[in-house]
């Protein structure tokens, strides 16, 4: 078949006559239609789409001048793809793999809804085995996920706003209101993990750091599309489950990054691991952080040191830690969270596999990183207990009684609230005096 390349303009290629010529411009198949901006058959359309989706690069074993004909179009994929581009197929017209965004109006707002695209049938005439996705190099989707997360991590950490220096944090907020507007809990002051002076923590600094970390962590949750997709009730529950573990994971990474032998805080203060130095810290802070610090340093920060964890692994692990399915969430909430967790888990696997030397090294590293998660979960529970004990003995901690920290820390307790107070009182009466001695 004679195909007149030189006498056809680009515009004519993009808008061929539907009546007089329905041949595929790539291979000459007579059953062509317009796809991706050019006249092409289903086989070449599918070939082009797969090549774009998977960012394949092909190599011609001849001189890059193979003839692409219907019967032989599979002989050389490099020349076929080149020809697709030459006749005007547009890579930008290829949709993201398996998703199509449809704008729908919900209560007057335009929202993007993810709808799965029907799977296209494979080209039956393709006699070559189909390419399978590489399982060693990172997929481009994973690179995009990671790049986006690192960008957002940096943005959230550097998010500063002017604030009233007389009253810039409070513990009197309701959980749901605090989630919607975290800046009402604490103004977005400058984050300073790596202070030169590094003062020891005080009770006042403890309260401030609790509030500032709350705001910081909620801001970070908002960067995840899975969190944003949840309804308010599910958001509230997820915050109660995961706020503390994610916060501790973040603190541990910063203690590891800045080589601090204790807990570093967002205002540059710290709580030392060394019990001798702890004697200079106020008793309330020792009661709050004393036991946490041992597990924090021995079981979490040391693991990060041994593994030489990097920031990409940290942000992916935070996302996995945050997205916890739970029976108390709605069905849809659980679906969104489970799907998201699988996504970040896969990204972590691909990332580790790419930077490791062989499967066994990669799998071992993955397991060691994942084994950090149960420990930060325990740290969260320890803080729940510390916060309740401190709040019983120090009414200032929670402002006017109850308040945001109590709501956060007491929420996961399996005791009824009244029973909780009763049992805590027993411990309080029996043990706090001994501690003071």
């Amino acid at each position: 078949m004679n195909i007149p390349f030189n006498s056809v303009s680009k515009i004519q290629w993009r808008n061929p006559s539907p009546v007089s010529d329905t041949s595929c411009l790539v291979c000459g198949d007579p059953h062509g239609k317009r796809h991706y901006g050019a006249m092409s058959c289903n086989g070449c359309k599918g070939f082009f789409r797969r090549s774009i989706w998977e960012k394949r690069t092909y190599k011609c074993s001849f001189n890059n001048e193979c003839i692409i004909e219907f019967k032989y179009r599979n002989r050389c994929r490099a020349c076929r793809l080149k020809r697709c581009l030459h006749v005007g197929m547009d890579a930008n017209a290829v949709r993201s793999e398996r998703t199509r965004k449809i704008k729908t109006e919900i209560d007057g707002d335009v929202k993007l809804e993810i709808k799965e695209e029907p799977a296209d049938s494979e080209d039956a005439d393709d006699e070559c085995p189909l390419d399978i996705k590489p399982d060693i190099a990172m997929a481009w989707q994973t690179k995009e996920i990671i790049a986006h997360m690192l960008y957002e991590e940096d943005r959230v950490l550097n998010w500063e706003e002017p604030y009233n220096k007389l009253r810039y944090y409070t513990m009197d907020s309701e959980v749901l209101q605090a989630i919607k507007d975290p800046s009402q809990v604490c103004a977005r002051t400058k984050i300073n993990w790596n202070s030169h002076s590094r003062p020891l923590i005080t009770i006042e600094a403890l309260r401030f750091n609790w509030c500032r970390t709350f705001t910081l962590t909620i801001d970070w949750f908002e960067t995840l599309p899975e969190y944003r997709a949840l309804i308010d009730d599910d958001k509230e529950l997820l915050v109660k489950f995961s706020l503390m573990p994610v916060g501790w994971l973040w603190y541990a990474y910063k203690s590891y990054e800045y080589r601090c032998d204790g807990i570093v805080f967002v205002d540059g203060s710290w709580f030392p691991r060394d019990k001798t130095i702890q004697q200079q810290v106020c008793p309330t802070c020792v009661l709050y952080y004393g036991r946490i610090t041992e597990s924090f340093m021995a079981d979490v920060v040391n693991s990060m040191k041994e593994l030489e964890m990097d920031e990409t692994e940290m942000v992916l692990l935070k996302a996995i830690c945050h997205l916890q399915p739970d029976y108390r969430l709605t069905r849809r909430g659980n679906d969104v969270i489970s799907t998201g967790r699988e996504k970040y888990k896969r990204a972590l696997c691909e990332y580790i596999r790419m930077k490791s030397n062989g499967f066994m090294d990669a799998s071992f590293r993955l397991c060691k990183l994942m084994q950090i998660l149960p420990v930060v979960d325990i740290l969260g529970k320890y803080e729940d207990e510390s916060a309740l004990l401190v709040s019983l003995g120090e009414t200032e901690f929670n402002g006017s009684g109850g308040g945001l920290p109590y709501d956060i820390h007491a929420s996961d307790s399996h005791f009824a609230r009244k029973n909780r107070r009763k049992s805590d009182n027993q411990y309080h009466q029996q043990h706090v005096p001994l501690h003071i001695q």
Binding site: I136, E294, F364
Partner: protein
Amino acid sequence: MSPHPRVLNDNNRRCLVCGDDKASRHYGTVACNGCKGFFRRSVWEKRTYFCIANEDCEVLQQFRNRCRACRFNKCVMVGMDARAVQSEREIRPNETAKKPKGSLKGKRSSLQTSNSVTSSQPSSSSTPDVDHPPIVKHLFNIQRRVETTFCPEFDDLVARFGSMCNVRISLQSALENPEKVATRTKLEWGNTSRLADIHDLKVTWCRTFVWFHDYLSSFEELERLNYLDREQLFKLRFAPVSWNLYAWHSYQNNIDGVTFTNDAWYPLDKEKQAFMDKPCNDYYSKIADTMIHGLVYRMKGINMTEEEFSCMLAITLFRPDYRLSSDANKLLQLTGDVFTKALSEYVLSRETSELKAMERMATLMIMLTSVQSLARQEDDNVTFLAIFDMADLVGLPYEVHSALRQDDFS
């Protein structure tokens, strides 16, 4: 424009690897069936070859088998693409290629072949069977032995077993002689004849205590620990390992709730729960939900195998903790790492790609967080019920489960 002559004349094509005159396009270049098959087998089985000469052997049709290293290198050099080789389990049946287009809308079904039996073996191996890593077999055997050890003379005393449970005993005495806590009755995980009552809670706790003691004693590595470390390890790991065990048996026996060591069970169904004692509901209601959603559904999702379960029990047990001595932590970490690597090897041998194997490993590791969470809930429950003496848990259970709280105020 006439078609290019090279395209039309198949008979003029020669294999770029060995020069065989009957060649067609395979894996992105021109190759004969022999070289195509050689390349496919090499990629499937991840073979590596070694040339005994200078890696410049001549690869010709008559001599192409003389040196596989050079043949493989030449395959790669002429452009054969390893990624074009399909996973063996995704081989498509020949007949589907001939079906009319309309019938291809559904996904093609994969065809399993007998090749999977030998694919993980090196080509020189004479072993016909797939062999699990020896460590996996060892852990599997430990788990099976502990599970099936019981005293036959008490087999018919399941109903009266409760009268033989004793929690008014110190942990030290119990570790020296676990028979004081409970008799080794046969474990009846699959028997769900009746809803549990408050008494069954104690029965199951005591029998699980003995199970865990036997499990711990099966590891000779742990004999090197001093008494304090051993006791502390028991307190730290009893609940996480136990919840792994309960979840596994709920999954294996398809029980929608928590199964007990005797003929009782605790259902997930809220309507059935309405008939049960308040202390039972206080203890199990939330924890059953967490176990089913966090562990059992996940086990179902990945079709967890008993070998994987055995490895996860051991990995859960051999985790270091800051409350143990540094010598103990070194031992636990070294041994736990060995078990983790053995599990990795096992999972890789069963999955179709390295990435899928890693994802499966990640799913298994997340279960560590779930059992840890369940353990914390149980600690709370035992403490709560013991304080208000709502169940017979004062004594040994309180001592085991309040270990974390005891540190609070010391």
